[in-house]
């Protein structure tokens, strides 16, 4: 049973929101992911992921200040909710468990190979 559903990209977005802490809004999240993970992120993909996460209750948002270069439009800041935190922890622990249970030899072999 999937307790917390979190896709790969969603997880990245969640983590980035966490990293950016108080500065997480559309453009900053996009840039952070692009620089850290060196992958292209389109505004559309990001926004729909953000919306999805908000609907799931992992993120919450609030409107922030508007600046001139945004043509007066407000920034929408995101932060992680308690439920979101639990979802991230759950994901992390499942991955850790998996990591832990990989026989050493498998990894070594790979390295050797």
């Amino acid at each position: 049973m999937k307790k917390y559903q979190l896709g790969e990209f969603e997880e990245v977005v969640m983590l980035t929101v966490g990293v950016l802490y108080n500065e997480a809004y559309g453009v900053s999240i996009k840039k952070e992911i692009e620089t850290r993970l060196s992958r292209k992120v389109s505004v559309g993909a990001l926004q729909s992921a953000l919306k999805r996460l908000e609907q799931k209750g992992y993120l919450k948002s609030f409107d922030g200040e508007s600046t001139q270069e945004r043509a007066g439009r407000p920034k929408r800041y995101f932060s992680i909710t308690a439920l979101g935190k639990r979802a991230m922890e759950y994901t992390k622990s499942t991955r850790d468990d998996l990591w832990r249970d990989i026989p050493k030899i498998a990894l070594n072999l790979k390295i050797a190979g």
């Binding site: 809004y25 559309g26 453009v27 996009k30 389109s42 505004v43 559309g44 993909a45 926004q47 729909s48 919306k51 999805r52 409107d63 508007s66 600046t67 001139q68 270069e69 945004r70 043509a71 439009r73 407000p74 920034k75 929408r76």
Partner: protein, 893 residues
């Protein structure tokens, strides 16, 4: 540097704004703009533009695209419930205002609904015919006639069917059957039409008994109504029975002109069908249908005129056609024009100048009364007249609603402000106010339906309805129309306040209530003034028409009509009846005549002096016996009375004073002994006497008395019996006994002359009743509106009044202060309305013959009525307000 703001491609920006979910739009647009600016500075405009476009296109995802429906429609139901709840609460909170609104609207609606009922009633006629959409009645029109005739040439039906393939079927329906059916020593009066077998193929009348295909084929066969069959045969089977029919030229179907000529036997007829005529609502009413094939025999015996090839005379026959299913009205019009062009090329009769045939759809027949029509119905103009009256009332009531709603905006301003602040947009507010007015209208329609229960019988009881036969059944579809009507009225009444109120700026209404614009007071005053002007006009007009009615009733006709009983001869010899009746105690005089003077019937002749070159002069003619002049108290001013009937007695005539002048004589004595000749028949008539003028034409129709000729030519229709008796009804009863001696078959038909004369003005009384009612309603509505405004003003100024009173103002002064604005409205209304109603009423009154004096007295009376009602309305509120204890209004706050 940032001032020259670079802008992304507009088309993509607009596209994005269009498709994006409104909730996300602003923040995402901000992101897009931020990115655009960054790219613009890093990589230049072209690249930034391209990336912007790509971003926008990639944003087209289900989660970001807005839902197809407006976002704020999601919780529709709750909003509706809230509007409804707030609406009801508002209605309940201000009970008096709501009552004024609901009552005013209900009153006006009930009148409108009555008219809807009338039209629905008329529209329900002739709906039972299977081919109703394809049936047309052919109308005849002639150059210069005011409206077309419902009748058409006799041979038209056959010609259409034979010569035009677009006509599926057509039938000729000819009136002129009106007389007695004799069966087994029993006589029943019956009227109806000559009809062809195709009658049953055009119309969907079904026979209860008998075969419709064969019923009217053979000569001397008839179809009778079920009611008639029951009267004649009770429970026996009528089919195949033979009855005698004698025609008395009873004017059927227009039954109101009594009389009837000496019976002419048409022979025996076999009943081939029974039709339950009462079951059908049709403009064709009949007791019997006589087969068209019976006519040739009657032509041969000279009992009827042969019209079968007569295209000139188009006043006697109704023609109905059924169009082939795929043909249109235009095809029919073309066919009719073609037929007229061919048939009338050689006909040069006076009445066929500019002759045209038109088609009238069967569905329009009942409402579209034409000349020579089959039954008495209200002409279309009558409906327009009533609709205009009802609309005036309805508009007045709607204005009340509008007026009051705007005036009371203050009570709603806070609510509007709060709603706007919490996110209601203007559309939602408009919707809210409209839903409130619709609720009011729906309440009003319920009330109106109850009111209708009282108005309907009153309307049906009007004299005129004896002829119009409105039944006004309330069917289910009619109720749907009512509801639809209420919705419409709700929207119309509420639309202005809705837009006005929803336009308030929340900041200004929440901050300072007194700032808000209460709607232009000028406009409201204009509305109020116009309501009162209209009311005044209606009041004055009704008083005027009522005066006219009284004037007609008290009119001096120049003859004595009191205690005179007019008896229809119904074909009996007048001398025989006169002898019988003279023997009745109480009868002091018996005379005979062919038409009752001043009741609407006129006969005319044209005469000129014998052997002269003079023009023929028109004159009315009254056939009377020698007792007539004495019996009706006419005064002979020269010469002597008509001679007793006898050899060549009809050579002598008595003329009236007017005729003396019109024929060119100065003194009555000069005309005695002069001989005149008639235009038709070239008879010679010698004047032996002159009578004082008396009215023989209908008062409403003619102002002139007109020249009149009296002649003793025994072709009488009525006996006039002068009765002087304590027990009038007893004498009449005795006369009836005598009648039964002579004519055991026909019922004794009598009327008092006074009543007959009064009846000719009953129509006016009906107009008075209708107009008076409308006047009453319009005053009530105008006063209700003013009542509402006065109440509201009094309520608003409660504190002011309290303070004034505490400072020592007098009650009356305060009342006057409060009333001043309203008094102004009333005064302006009167100063406009009084001259206006005087002028407008004079316009039509000038055209009316024998009019009553219309002076300022009538206008003054109307003004007085209006003023009294207005003052009571205003006074009731302002006095109450000014009498209130200041403590009550000041202790709060």
């Amino acid at each position: 540097m940032m001032n020259d703001k670079p802008l992304p491609p507009r088309i993509f920006l607009h596209f994005f704004r269009w498709f994006c979910h409104p909730e996300l739009r602003d923040s995402i647009e901000g992101d897009l703009m931020e990115l655009y600016h960054e790219r613009y500075h890093e990589a230049g405009k072209r690249k930034a533009d391209r990336n912007f476009a790509i971003d926008v296109l990639l944003l087209c995802r289900p989660s970001i695209i807005r839902p197809v429906q407006e976002y704020n429609h999601i919780n529709n139901y709750d909003m509706f419930r809230n509007y409804f709840k707030v609406g009801i609460r508002n209605i309940l909170k201000y009970k008096m205002f709501s009552f004024i609104n609901v009552f005013g609207l209900a009153v006006a609606m009930s009148v409108c609904m009555l008219i809807i009922l009338m039209i629905a009633d008329q529209k329900s006629y002739d709906q039972f015919h299977e081919k109703k959409d394809r049936i047309y009645r052919i109308l005849s029109d002639q150059e210069g006639s005011r409206h077309p005739y419902a009748t058409s040439p006799f041979p038209l039906a056959n010609a259409l069917k034979a010569e035009y393939p677009i006509i599926e079927e057509s039938t000729n329906v000819t009136p002129g059957v009106g007389g007695d059916i004799l069966y087994n020593h029993q006589v029943v009066e019956a009227g109806g039409y000559f009809a062809e077998p195709s009658f049953f193929r055009v119309f969907s009348f079904e026979l209860e008994q008998g075969n419709a295909n064969k019923a009217l084929v053979a000569p001397n066969t008839i179809v009778i109504s079920k009611a008639l069959a029951y009267q004649l045969f009770r429970d026996e089977n009528p089919i195949g029975k033979t009855v005698e029919f004698s025609d008395r030229q009873l004017p059927f179907p227009l039954k109101h002109n009594g009389g009837g000529a000496t019976p002419v036997s048409w022979g025996s007829f076999t009943i081939t069908g029974v039709l339950d005529e009462a079951k059908y609502r049709s403009h064709l009413k009949f007791d019997i249908l006589v087969s068209m094939a019976s006519r040739p025999a009657l032509y041969a015996e000279k009992k009827l005129e042969d019209l079968s090839n007569n295209w000139e005379w188009y006043f006697r026959t109704y023609t109905y056609t059924v169009l082939a299913p795929d043909k249109t009205r235009n095809d029919l019009a073309d066919a009719l024009n073609d037929l007229v062009a061919r048939k009338y090329a050689t006909i040069k009769a006076e009445q066929t100048k500019g002759f045209r045939l038109e088609a009238q759809a069967l569905g329009d027949v009942q409402l579209g009364l034409q000349g020579n029509d089959t039954s008495d119905r209200m002409p279309l103009a009558g409906y327009y007249f009533l609709i205009v009256l009802a609309l005036v009332i309805m508009i007045s009531a709607c204005l009340n609603y509008t007026n009051l709603s705007i005036a009371r905006a203050l009570t709603r301003a806070k609510e509007i402000g709060i709603r706007k602040v919490t996110g209601a947009n203007r559309k939602a507010l408009v919707f809210q106010f409209l839903s409130e007015s619709v609720i009011t209208a729906l309440l009003a329609v319920t009330m109106a339906i109850i009111m209708l229960l009282f108005i309907k019988p009153a309307f049906k009881g009007l004299w005129i309805n004896k002829h119009l036969n409105f039944e006004l059944p309330s069917t289910v579809p009619v109720y749907f129309i009512f509801i639809g009507f209420a919705l419409l009225i709700g929207i119309l009444a509420g639309i202005y306040p809705a837009f006005h109120l929803s336009g308030y700026q929340p900041v200004s209404v929440l901050k300072k209530l007194n700032n808000i614009n209460l709607g232009k007071l000028g406009l409201r005053k204009v509305l109020s003034v116009s309501q009162f002007v209209i009311s005044l006009f209606f009041i004055t007009t009704s008083i005027l028409i009522f005066n006219q009615f009284k004037h007609f009733l008290a009119f001096d006709y120049g003859f004595t009509s009191s205690n005179v009983v007019n008896i229809q001869l119904q074909g009996i010899d007048h001398q025989k009846l006169a002898n019988e009746l003279s023997a009745v105690p109480g009868v002091v005089g018996v005379s005979a005549c062919n038409i009752i003077p001043a009741t609407g019937e006129n006969n005319n002749i044209e005469i000129k002096k014998a052997d002269s070159e003079a023009e023929y002069a028109p004159a009315g003619i009254l056939l009377t016996d020698d007792n007539f002049i004495g019996n009706l108290g006419l005064k002979i001013i020269a010469g002597k009375n008509l001679p007793k009937a006898g050899e060549s007695s009809d050579r002598f005539i008595v003329v009236n004073k007017e005729a003396v002048e019109k024929l060119g004589y100065k003194y009555p004595a000069e005309i005695i002994g002069e001989v005149f000749e008639t235009k038709w028949g070239k008879e010679s008539l010698e004047v032996i006497g002159v009578v004082e003028d008396f009215r023989y034409k209908l008062l409403v129709n003619s102002h002139d008395i007109g020249p009149l000729v009296l002649r003793n030519q025994p072709n009488f229709m009525y006996i006039n019996v002068k009765v002087i008796s304590e027990d009038l009804m007893g004498t009449v009863a005795k006369m009836e006994e005598r009648w039964k001696h002579i004519d055991p078959i026909h019922p004794f038909k009598y009327e008092f002359f006074d009543d007959q004369l009064a009846t000719t003005h009953q129509g006016i009384l009906d107009i008075v009743s209708i107009l008076g009612f409308i006047a009453f309603l319009s005053v009530v509505i105008a006063c209700l509106g003013m009542l509402g405004m006065a109440m509201y003003t009094a309520e608003r100024k409660k504190k002011e009044i309290g303070i004034r009173k505490v400072l020592g103002a007098e009650t009356l002064k305060i009342a006057f202060l409060l009333s001043r604005e309203f008094l102004k409205v009333l005064m302006i209304a009167i100063s406009i309305g009084a001259p206006l109603s005087y002028a407008l009423n004079n316009l039509w009154l000038q055209k009316l013959p024998n009019r009553v004096d219309f002076g300022f007295g009538t206008v003054f009376l109307g003004t007085l009525v209006l003023l009294t009602l207005g003052l009571i309305t205003i006074g009731s509120q302002t006095l109450r307000a000014s009498k209130s204890n200041p403590v009550d209004s000041l202790k709060m706050d």
